[in-house]
Amino acid sequence: MVKEGLLYTKEHEWVRVEGDSATVGISDHAQEMLGDVTFVELPEANASFAQNDPMAVVESSKAASDVYCPISGTVMEVNSPLEDAPELINESCYEQGWICKVQMANPQELDTLMNAEAYGQFLAEQS
């Protein structure tokens, strides 16, 4: 399922923009491909990332996968409940399973991301 109103990357991260803050998570397609998530390595608060830098790791019983920062900026808040309940990514990838909130350094980079429709098409082409 692709959620409307979010932006997406080719690496299957999603971004929710509120003012100059971007909430980041992984898409439903990503969590489905990974299977049951067993561990999430969250970024540190106040860490800075450039666009496409690996910022977190999501591990499942099948694979360990990097999460790439969809947009340059500084981490303001991380979703620490994921440390004890990584299954939130499977159960609620767009809501409770968010990974972190980034204060955007360069909001123009948002233009490089896909909207829900374009991401849906991208997924269809991939399969």
Partner: protein, 483 residues
């Protein structure tokens, strides 16, 4: 079946010490003594023997069933390997003996095995020197990368990156990272192989080397291998051959002739020594002539008088990477295997491994999706068809269904570039009859996945435990057997 702890009966014993008839002269500090006895099972000798015999009857291995585990080369281990390795002259040798004064003369047989194995592997791989020390494939990778780093250091060049294709075994990037390099993952092209164009695109003067498995984890040989090695040499990088899939080409072609500079060989795969369950493995590392000085010490040399000795005077060596000489018992088994087969026999190994894999591929490709069509080498990668996935039948379910039919599940969900991968490697030791039974089972599963998917989703039903909860096991790590 009960756990051995659940069978425990208070004060039951397998052995009773006689009563002490002399006064105790040992006094142990109170703080060092246990406050209460260790929580160990209390059982008779017969209880223990029956418990472990029953457990052993539930073992599943190459000696009991077909084990088509892709990428792992679970071939049959000829029993002659075991017989020779159990000779007391080998099995009871102390590893310090050749290092003691005059001890070398008492260990000439073992030293000769190490020396000749070095020569054999050089001949097989097209290299100029080997170390037997690395204890497993990944350990060999790290050793090879340390040699690569020593080479670049000796030339005073600054190197930062290792190239590895995205189809690589996970050990490649992790070995590179532990050796201090950054990894550049190079995407696999549409043909399922690493394309020279992609290598060129990712190449820069700070590239220390490339790690490549060939044939790769899709079972495909790369026809551009010589060109790719040349590209790497063009920036004074070194080409590292991951020997995980050497079984596909052993006796036919030599990585050194393609242009590779460093190689590790998984003896436990290609040369039929026991593995699975964590080892013990052996991952000897070979290098081209100008890298020989960097090999770990000690090195076994043959003196002019025909005797063998350990040599330590290697000032450029990267040092020890393992205690003593590696897993000697495993090296010895592989040595026996090579001697028993000879050059002609080794050629037939790879011929039959490739023939068996292609036979399976042709028979199954109408029933499952084939990631990359064409002639494969020693293994091939399938996926469930879309109709199976629509029925909620995934690679995992297909693998579990094979257990009920008497086969070890193949490797699944690897390589990660293939969705729902099912990676099958039959090896050369299986007969056509066994392969046909496996094919029949796979076809039956494919049909049931469409007609009765619930049966496939419920598998296995014939095992003592059906489906352990792998997610809980990974999320809640608890490895203590005693609470």
């Amino acid at each position: 079946m009960k756990l051995v702890f659940e069978k425990s009966v208070p004060s039951r014993k397998a052995f009773r010490m006689g009563p002490r008839d002399v006064p105790s002269s040992v006094s142990i500090d109170e703080s060092l003594l246990r406050k209460k006895p260790a929580d160990l099972p209390e059982l008779s000798e017969l209880d223990v023997v029956r418990h472990f015999t029953e457990l052993s009857r539930r073992n599943f291995g190459v000696d009991t069933n077909f084990y088509p585990l892709g990428s792992c080369t679970m071939k049959y281990n000829p029993k002659v390997n075991e017989r020779i390795a159990s000779y007391p002259g080998f099995a009871h040798l102390h590893p310090l003996l050749p290092q003691l004064r005059m001890g070398g003369m008492l260990t000439q047989g073992a030293l000769r095995v190490l020396y000749e194995m070095d020569r054999f592997l050089c001949e097989i791989a097209g290299m100029d020197g080997f170390t037997m020390q690395p204890m497993a494939g990944a350990h060999g990778e790290l050793t090879g990368l340390m040699i690569m780093a020593a080479y670049h250091r000796s030339k005073g060049t600054q190197k930062k990156y290792i190239l590895a294709p995205d189809s690589a075994h996970g050990t490649n990037p992790s070995s590179a990272a532990i050796a201090g390099y950054e990894v550049i993952s190079v995407p696999t092209g549409n043909r399922g192989i690493l394309e020279p164009e992609e290598v060129r695109r990712h190449l820069n003067p700070e590239v220390a080397g490339l790690m490549l498995t060939c044939p790769n984890t899709l079972g495909l040989f790369n026809p551009h291998i010589a060109e790719i090695c040349e590209l790497i040499h063009g920036v004074d990088g070194l080409a590292y051959y991951d020997g995980a899939n050497l079984n596909a080409i052993v006796g036919q072609a030599r990585p050194g002739d393609f242009g590779f500079d460093i190689i590790h060989i998984n003896l436990h795969k290609t040369f039929s020594t026991p593995h699975g369950g964590g080892g013990p493995g052996a991952g000897p590392v070979g290098v081209r002539a100008d890298l020989v000085d960097f090999l770990p010490v000690s090195v076994v040399v043959k003196r002019d008088d025909g005797t063998y000795a350990l040599e330590y005077d290697r000032p450029h060596s990267i040092g020890y990477v393992a205690p003593f000489y590696g897993n000697f018992g495993i090296i010895l088994r592989a040595y026996v295997y090579i001697l028993m087969l000879g050059k002609e026999g080794l050629k037939r190994v790879s011929q039959n491994a490739v023939l068996n894999a292609n036979y399976l591929k042709e028979k199954l490709k109408d029933h499952y999706d084939l990631a990359f069509d064409g002639v494969c080498k020693h293994e091939c990668v399938f996926s469930p068809t879309q109709a199976m996935l629509d029925n909620d039948v995934h690679a995992l379910n297909i693998a579990k269904s094979l257990i009920d039919r008497g086969f070890h599940p193949p490797t699944i969900y690897f390589p990660s570039i293939v969705r729902e991968a099912i990676m099958i490697e039959p090896t050369e030791t299986e007969s056509k009859e066994t392969l046909d039974r496996f094919i029949a089972a796979m076809i039956e599963i494919a049909e049931l996945a469409l007609s009765d998917p619930q049966q496939i989703r419920d598998a296995p039903v014939t095992t003592p435990v059906s489906r352990p909860n792998e997610t809980i096991a990974a999320r809640v790590l608890d490895i203590a057997s005693i609470a």
